[in-house]
Amino acid sequence: MLENLSAKLAEIVGAKHVTGKLADRVCYSRDCGPDKAGIPALVVQPGSTEEVSALVKAANDFGFQIYARGRATTFLGSGVKEGVVVLETTRMNEIRKIDREAGYVAAQCGAIWYAIDHQLHDSGWELAVPGGGGLFSCTIGGTVAVNAIPHGATEYGMTGDHVLSLEVVLPSGEVIRTGSAANPASEPIERNANGADLAGLFIGSYGILGVITEVTYRIRRTPEAEEFRLFAFDNYGDAIDAATGVQASGAATFIVGLFGGPKPNGEQGDAFLHLIVRDRASSARERMREAEAICFSHHGRSRPAEGTRRYWQEHMYSWLRNTAPGPYYSHRPYFCPEVAGFVSSQGLKKAIALFRDMKDEREQAFEQFGIRVKGVDAYFSRNGAYLWIDTLYDERRDDAWEYGMKLRGEIAERMFTEGRMSPGGLGAGVAPYIMPKLGASYDLLRSLKHTLDPHGTLNPGLLIPEEAR
């Protein structure tokens, strides 16, 4: 049976791009997160939209399940089940068009986000957000599929906000284009054309409703100037008030708050705000003066901001804590069962207090299992904040892994209720803690999934936990 399937897939993509060898298959199981996953029966690597379409049709005909993935750089759980087919998109990596007049780039799903941005930078342009999650190696298709939380979110918004058009292979194998590009006579210049926002259906859907095969994404000229500041606060309430004020003023391109975990190297205080402003030189200075004034009015202390600059320009989180990547990351076997989500800016006060209480209550267990807190950090968005509660466990210890996963569940339960948090990127790991709370909204998602994918062919279980069973 498996040999027949392998032969069928080889007919579609070529024998070189299908493998059933165990040495290969063990490489396509987990993502970057802590969730364990199954080993697929086959791995297949299509080179075109037509091949993706043919593979999905074959999945329906032969009755197998497909997990589509790019570089699998999420921390949310790949959800890969034992014995499925992993469809890996990295062969589809062409940057197809850069149209500076219309302000977009079109790229196949497997193109590396950072590489696209780098190519644009050479001519003074950039992608409309600097990249989801900070892992340079992510693909554009995967980043849009999970709607990763980007740097620069305070001014620039979310990853999905700048999608102009998607090409998607539906669970039936049909290929659609969204927005203005749905009309073959038109171009991919406007997402909000031709009726309902179909792109929105697939952004953040984690591939359960279709495989994104091409993305048309907004670009802009790289701003002339960048200003950086770091403020220290003696209590996190002041820091949140300052951030809320800066956010409301529209002064900052990006505000990152640190409310837990290690303090920036050499700094004292309870909370810290990194501020980044990008604009024309004169406007950037003026905007930063306004942001500074707000921070000072909330008892903030201005501190050296070299770490802020390096964080922004190198996209390395270690610099948020004034630490070079080498000593920060090195080779420590710790993994992060993160819980993250959107809260209102003022709502951060309650969520942070809640987590600090939870940590205090579990002091003995943290000690017993070697649990550390990497960070309680917030990316301020346009209308709220995206709070990351990052704990760490020792990957070598089974008991630490078990406790780390239990802890994630406990934090998620509390945050998604009392903490009023709503997660953004969702994988197999956190979905069970939020989806059952969504009521009719979740019912609608399940109906959509069932309508588009009645056989549960694509990425089953990723947003719909009961499919994982």
Binding site: K16, C27, P325, Y329, H331
Partner: protein, 382 residues
């Protein structure tokens, strides 16, 4: 299992995928076997996933694992780009040792190891041919301040490198000798996962080197240099009792070299950094300084150069079992070199030169492109 020693590192892999791509150019890989196969198991993240599966008992050491591990060109690009700063090449070396212990060497590698054992070189050539490139015997087996360790490939295949090095040392008035009974340094054994045999090869040579009374060992082959400079201490736990340098380092620091009146040459050179010499040993500037010393020579860098250079496809002796991979990789690098507009491709490694010459021949390109080692270029300007 040798791999156990690296358990902490293996469990530390974040699986971030920094080790696959040229992060500034979509569609370009930094890893030759991954680029060739497209499968993660041939790239660093996959190799660490296999290592984890081996430790966890999910995967046995078998021929498929051997095929993937021995496809590594040991270029070190993955390690240079690793987000977690893992000693990836050491982990691969441990896997090779485990495979060799289980008699899972690939056929070409096993044959190569046998040749080195029987003949003292990986080419199956008789030992007496080793010195037949020499212009005379006056420097053979004598005592001298500097010993030129010629290496198997310059001795037997790329003799222009041996002759060029000899001529340059001679022209600079260096008191130097060559060994009468030099044998393979042990580098191929390291690549095959046979460190004990590498240690024996090293120690055999070192005994002869001690007798020469030299205080400095000069190498034209980066592989030999790495074996003495880096591997010796790992294999024996002792510091190498003699200074070991590459010829380009040695000449760049030698006042007599800079006093030479080199003849003008009209060339546009692109310099290919050998992975072992550049990324592994950190010798990046000296070859470029020496090339610039030739009047009339201009240099154009390839897009991927210096510490971010791309492999020529010859590292790790992969040609023995993965010839197609070597040919594809050398072809890609050759075209990248030509894209600079250069009329001369210069490297500082006999294996790289062999790869470029092979790529040139296979390309069928009629453009007049010279493929030289840096010592050949310099010697031609004497």
């Amino acid at each position: 299992m040798k791999l156990e020693a690296y358990k902490d590192q293996i469990y530390s892999c974040l699986r971030c995928a920094f080790c696959f791509d040229h992060l500034e150019a979509s569609g370009r890989s930094i890893c030759p076997p991954y680029a060739d196969s497209g499968l993660e198991s041939f790239g660093a993240r996959g190799k660490i996933a296999m290592a984890r599966a081996l430790l966890d008992g999910v995967l046995p050491y078998d021929q498929d694992v051997a095929d993937r591990i021995f496809s590594c060109t040991e270029c070190g690009a993955c390690e240079a780009q690793c987000f977690k700063y893992l000693a990836l090449t050491n982990i691969y070396a441990a896997m090779k040792e485990d495979l060799a212990e289980r008699e899972l060497l690939l056929p070409g590698a096993a044959s190569l190891a046998n040749d080195v054992g029987a003949q003292g070189n990986p080419y199956g050539r008789p030992q007496e041919k080793r010195l037949s490139w020499l212009p005379g015997t006056e420097r053979v087996g004598t005592t001298a301040d500097v010993l030129f360790f010629v290496g198997c490939t310059p001795s037997l295949l790329r003799r222009g490198i041996a002759r060029g090095t000899y001529r340059l040392l001679d022209a600079c008035g260096v008191d130097f000798a060559v060994l009468e009974d030099e044998t393979c340094c042990g580098h191929p054994f390291m690549a095959m996962g046979l460190p004990d045999r590498a240690r024996l090869a090293l120690e055999g040579n070192l005994e002869n080197i001690r007798r020469s009374g030299a205080s400095t060992l000069v190498f034209a082959c980066p592989g030999c240099l790495k074996t003495f400079r880096d591997d010796y201490v790992k294999l024996t736990g002792e510091l190498l009792p003699i200074r070991a340098v590459h010829i380009t380092e040695y000449l760049a620091e030698l006042p007599a070299f800079h006093e030479l009146k080199l003849k003008r040459q009209s060339r546009l050179v692109t310099y290919h950094d050998p992975c072992t010499l550049g990324r592994s040993l950190g010798i990046l500037a000296p070859p470029r300084q020496l090339i610039s010393a030739v009047p009339g020579v201009k240099q154009h860098e390839m897009a991927r150069h210096g510490a971010e250079s791309f492999c020529c496809g010859s590292g790790g002796f992969v040609r023995a079992d993965h010839e197609d991979l070597a040919i594809t990789t050398q072809g890609e690098r050759y075209l990248e070199a030509l894209s600079t507009g250069a009329d001369t491709i210069v490297s500082a490694c006999p294996a790289c030169q062999t790869a470029f010459l092979d790529a040139k021949q296979r390309s069928g390109d009629s453009r007049p492109v010279d493929v030289l080692d840096v010592v050949e270029l310099l010697a031609s300007a004497l």
